[in-house]
Symmetry: C2
Subunit: 752 residues, 2 copies
């Protein structure tokens, strides 16, 4: 049975790009002050390492390990890594950043604190490794690239293979990939090697010149020379590692370090019966030119490289050919960054295989471009990562470069801190909730991105969340009640909460007959299902019968039912109530500018729009103020033009409505609002039976206290799925955290 | 302080029609077999009389008392009565009906079983009454009309009254109404009296001729002559009743029978401090020409009459004038049905007052019509109820008439038994749930009719229900998950339930790149949010690439995302799962007819459409089969014209789709479906975390059993808010009760 030439036999339409991916990236936390590894413990905000699926520590306490979940595409994997990196960066002390290079900055053995984990085995294992390899060597960081070939792709291969057992087939397939990976590892080292120098004293013997990748050479973090593992067969591979463990050359199977490892079971021997399920490629140095340590193009080039490994035949004389390949890799790893590939490198074999895969399966043009990039990098070493890094070496050091890049990356993470990088297309509240989930180590899966539908889980406990706060904590019928203004009012009124008096009509004659009852009152006439304020008439003074009739016609044009309600004068506040407690109070005021005695209104708007919280299309917590027709008319009505200079302290409103979406300001007044109103709002929500609810209260005079008997306010609306981000990132006021509280209530077992 | 001339002082726009209403109607259950009062106990299906708010028994076990909740209009009150009557009629033994007349059929004292109530006081009170008045007299039935004048109307009156205390004002107002009601009671007796004869032996002395209303005369159910109650003042009224109770002339205040009573407190004396709140007018005989015992026009005429009582001054010499009026009423009650009003009746006063009210307040023309009807009835006694009833008296008996009317009413109640009379405009499932609630004595309030939003309650326990089964029993996020096909599939697939394999695409190129994976399969291409089947392409055999691409274009024209799924062949069944248990299984088949060897297809359709379950626009459990363009084309494709005669037993489909809404048949196969499928469907719903859920399974061969490992079926959809009525009223099969189970789970404290 042979595993060669299988790919060649597949139909060109076979889904060979089908695969799943996982990435792991290590990186050191660096203190800005000491300019070396941070002495602080793993950030407390990152929850518990005993279960955190995404953010762990590797060997030492400051060495973060960022782990993506399994992704169905390399793009998704990089997106996961983007978000996890963003969370890690923003969970660290603001005086720290992530080191962007595989080789650490200058550090002393005693600066390196072994990771302070709960598991005593993991701690003692790290002490053993420290003893054996030295703590400095362990500080080298890189990226692991895990790939599992697609189910349908493997099924196609299996079909043409002639194998009887799919387990045996997959084992041979992945073994062949591992063999060929080692055979052609030197190409990856040439292209992506990025560990050209060690700080003085890092190596036992300082190198005389720059190289491509210390980490990928024998000077890297490698096993002792007496650890020899066979790739002749899977049985030999398993046996030789077991032998090393049995006679103490290795303390455990996982101490076997290799640029590539077979994966899928805890114990290697299980592969023989259960099968290898994926490949772990461990050789990638951190790409310092990419803030994630690896780029999309690199991920896809590796994928193409792996498919080429499958296209190529297996080595004939496995051990011998792999030894030769290892030597070649060592040589290239220790060659100068600007040195070309040696002639003996079997470059043509692998490049031809890549081209053949592209052609046979008519891969998208993108892969042709990737291959062309490789050819250019082969032709010109300056285009490789090491080649591009070389000019940044100053005084035989990359410390200044690393510091600059690291701080740039950290600053970038803190721009638009309301957004979760990689997920900016989702709603802000969902981004914030996802940030919190990743931070606390709660598993997440986006079941439907456009629907903002998340699955969150910890161990066996699953919670589904839609739009940030639609959860199992609310019951079904109550949000449906809140979606209906008439029903909401009836329920609140029955429990003697203050709501505007009024009536509903679906017949114009009946609505006209109601006139006597409202003829002396300020009223609002509105369609029952108001959409964006259409069809609403407000009479701040009593309406004449013709005016009332006209308002009825306007409202009936929008809906078959309308409401005639008392108009309530006063200021509107939004109370965010969660699980019976008011967590935030917001005042929204119309878009406005305040004069400084020098600037025109137009300039003041521009200045105000500089606030990084202001953006467009709900991608930011606040919207940029426009100077459109409505705003210009509003200015004109007040006797201004946009070019008028405003005296210091003079405030001019640019809108009548106070919506955030039209440039309004959000003012967090949670701490200033009298407790009596917060309690009343919470009581309303409890009476309604809702869990997460936004309560809109009109308060004429908030210096007075509220009570059940004298509420001094009126509830004009209850909102299901209330906005959360607007309470957190405010134009004014401290802002209140909401999504974190949602999460803590969903997972009290780990977050309370 | 005087209460006269107040109405005259009000502005014409004062809301004088504002009032709330309540109706009580008594009626005897009659056995078809014995043709006299039923000997059966109060129907068990009507829940417990200890708390039933709507359906009670009056004095005797067969005397039903139907009680409406307080209604905001007479129309709403009559609608309540319509529904409650419908429920009462359909909860009785099919061999019984309600007696439509105030005077009972021939009965013997020993036939009358005193109501078998739980409360020992109520039972002994009834025994005392039986002793005192005789059980026969207690069998007379009537309608009580309760009215409370509107809040704003009373406020307007109070404003012009000069009174300082609103309680005193209201007391004087309602006392005046009561005084004037007794003064003009004779008019109501003339118009609505409908108790012309008693069956032989009913009265101590048989009457020689027909009269207007035995029940409204002194021969009716009246207190002994030593019970004299003063209407001079409220204090005198309270005191004189108390005196009767204290010296034993009455056993309790409620034993005081009068055509009108002041109401609002349990003890009359409380009126002095808390105020009378409404008026109970007790004099109305059952109108045998209306199946509810009273008509809309009568209700509104009474309302106009009461407003006229308010327009008129109070009596000057209360006791004297009321005595005179009582005598007049007695005389008219015992006059012949075709006898005109005596000249001494102060007809002009009351008619003029009615006209004045109509004119002063510009009441709608409808009230003018009502007044005109009174004038016509006054002019021609044959137009009064007694006058119209007179011709039906045969052999000095109304038994035949009563039997006919009673049975007609009962038959009418059983037509369209899926509907709740009065609420036919609501969704069928909501009508059925309301029926169940009224039957079991659960309070209901329709918070929003067009939104199908109900409030149900028993004591302090409130449940809200929307669309029949959207309740607090489901949590918020799960129905939202079920509304999203992709999310539903992911959740089911993660738990290893059978769902069609497939993928979601929002990019055409990616969808095209997927072709290799489906190129040999039967597939469905559909927009992610399918609406009415638009944009769906089914390939029962593998699609060519151009056909696949066209299907993508069609789907993308409907939505920005589409699904490509395996096409699953087999029969689709709907499983209704509630609270972890499958309660019903339905097979839906396309609209079809089966030949009888004689009729044409057109005739067969007509015959099938005669089924009372078939109607139009979802007002019935099944829809009438159309012979429109689609059906004709379908016939043509099978080589038929609508006028072709079909051989016996030949079935011809008229539609390809099996929707009930296009004339399809519903077949209840709950009892035939193998338990293994019901359990699998229930397991899916439990895994999903839903309470009420419709599971659509495709089963290729239901002679095989289902299991978790070999499901032998595929779930193509989970439905939140699944239809319930279609399981209950089926074209074929026994039908399953669902709404009753919903209710029992909502109120287990009384229904389990």
């Amino acid at each position: 049975m042979t595993i060669n030439q299988l790919l060649q036999q597949l139909e060109p339409t076979s889904p060979i790009l089908q695969a799943s991916f996982g990435l792991e990236r290590e990186s050191l936390r660096i203190s800005k002050q000491s300019q070396t590894v941070a002495q602080t413990p793993h950030p407390v905000s990152l929850g518990a390492r005993s279960y955190h699926p995404y953010i762990q520590t590797d060997y030492s306490e400051p060495q973060l390990e960022l782990i993506t979940p399994v992704a169905q595409s390399s793009k998704e994997a990089l997106r996961f890594l983007t978000a996890i990196t963003d969370v890690a960066q923003r969970s660290m002390d603001r005086e720290e950043y992530l080191w962007p290079l595989s080789m650490p900055p200058k550090l002393e053995e005693e600066d390196i604190r072994i990771a302070d984990l709960d598991d005593p085995f993991e701690v003692s294992y790290r002490h053993y490794l420290a003893e054996k390899y030295g703590k400095k060597l362990q500080s080298m960081s890189g990226v692991h690239y895990n790939i599992e070939l697609g189910k349908d792709f493997i099924a196609d291969l299996f079909r043409v293979s002639g194998y009887a057992s799919e387990v045996h087939f997959k084992n041979d397939l992945y073994l062949k990939l591992a063999q060929n990976f080692i055979r052609y590892h030197w190409l990856l080292t040439y292209l992506y090697g990025a560990a050209p120098i060690a700080q003085q004293g890092f190596l036992k013997e300082d190198l005389t010149d720059c190289v491509r990748s210390i980490r990928n050479s024998d000077l890297g973090y490698v096993n002792d020379s007496d650890v020899q593992v066979s790739y002749e067969s899977l049985e030999a591979y398993v046996q030789s590692i077991e032998d090393c463990v049995n006679d103490g050359r290795l303390i455990a199977e996982k101490e076997f370090y290799s640029p590539v490892r077979l994966r899928g079971s805890k114990h290697n021997r299980d592969y023989l019966t259960q099968g290898v399920t994926y490949l772990e490629c461990r050789s990638f140095d951190l790409d310092p030119f990419h803030h994630l340590g690896i780029s999309q193009e690199t991920l896809d080039t590796i994928h193409l490289f792996i498919l080429a490994l499958l296209w190529l035949d297996s080595p004939q004389q496995v051990t011998k050919e792999l030894e030769t390949a290892k030597d070649l890799n060592h040589q290239i790893a220790l060659s100068h960054p600007l040195e070309a590939l040696p002639d003996k490198a079997p470059l043509k074999d692998i490049l031809t295989a890549m081209a053949a895969v592209i052609q046979h399966f008519s891969l998208p043009h993108y892969y042709q471009d990737l291959l062309q990039q490789i050819e250019q990098q082969v032709a010109d070493p300056r285009l490789t990562v090491a080649g591009r890094l070389y000019p940044h070496i100053q005084n035989h050091s990359l410390e200044d470069f690393g510091r600059l890049k690291g701080q740039q990356n950290q600053d970038q993470a803190w721009t638009a801190p309301y957004a979760l990088k990689g997920y900016e297309s989702m709603e802000l509240s969902t981004q914030m909730l996802l940030f919190d989930a990743i931070q606390k180590g709660i598993h997440f899966d986006i079941l439907d991105e456009s629907d903002q539908f998340l699955k969150l889980w910890h161990q066996d406990h699953i919670e589904y969340v839609k739009n940030g706060n639609m959860t199992a904590k609310d019951n079904y019928v109550i949000p449906l009640a809140m979606a209906n203004k008439v029903v909401t009012k009836k329920i609140l009124a029955e429990q003697h909460f203050p709501v505007p008096a009024g009536a509903e009509f679906s017949d114009k004659q009946e609505a006209l007959a109601y006139y006597p009852l409202i003829k002396n009152k300020a009223i609002v006439v509105k369609p029952k299902s108001t959409n964006f304020g259409l069809g609403i008439s407000i009479f701040e003074e009593a309406a004449s019968l013709p005016a009332y009739e006209k308002a009825l016609d306007i409202a009936f044009a929008e809906d078959t039912s309308l409401l005639v309600e008392d108009y309530i004068a006063g200021t509107e506040y939004r109370f965010f109530v969660l699980d019976g407690k008011c967590e935030a109070v917001l005042l929204r005021v119309a878009a406005n500018v305040v004069g400084d005695g020098r600037s025109s209104i137009r300039q003041l708007v521009e200045q105000k729009n500089q606030n990084p919280l202001r953006g467009q299309d709900h991608r930011s917590p606040l919207e940029k103020i426009q100077l459109g027709a409505i705003e210009l008319l509003m200015l004109e009505q007040q006797g201004y033009t946009p070019d008028d200079r405003l005296a210091e302290g003079v405030q001019v409103d640019l809108r009548r409505n106070s919506n955030i979406s039209t440039g309004g300001d959000s003012i967090d007044i949670t701490n200033d609002m009298d407790t009596s109103y917060k309690e009343l709002a919470a009581d309303m929500v409890k009476a309604m039976g809702a869990w997460a609810c936004g309560v809109d209260l009109i308060i004429p005079d908030r210096s007075k206290k509220a009570s059940r008997t004298e509420p001094n306010c009126t509830c004009i609306e209850l909102n299901f799925n209330p906005s959360m981000y607007m309470h957190t990132y405010c134009h004014e006021g401290p802002g209140q955290i909401i999504t974190g509280k949602i999460l803590a209530k969903l997972f009290p077992e780990i977050l309370s």
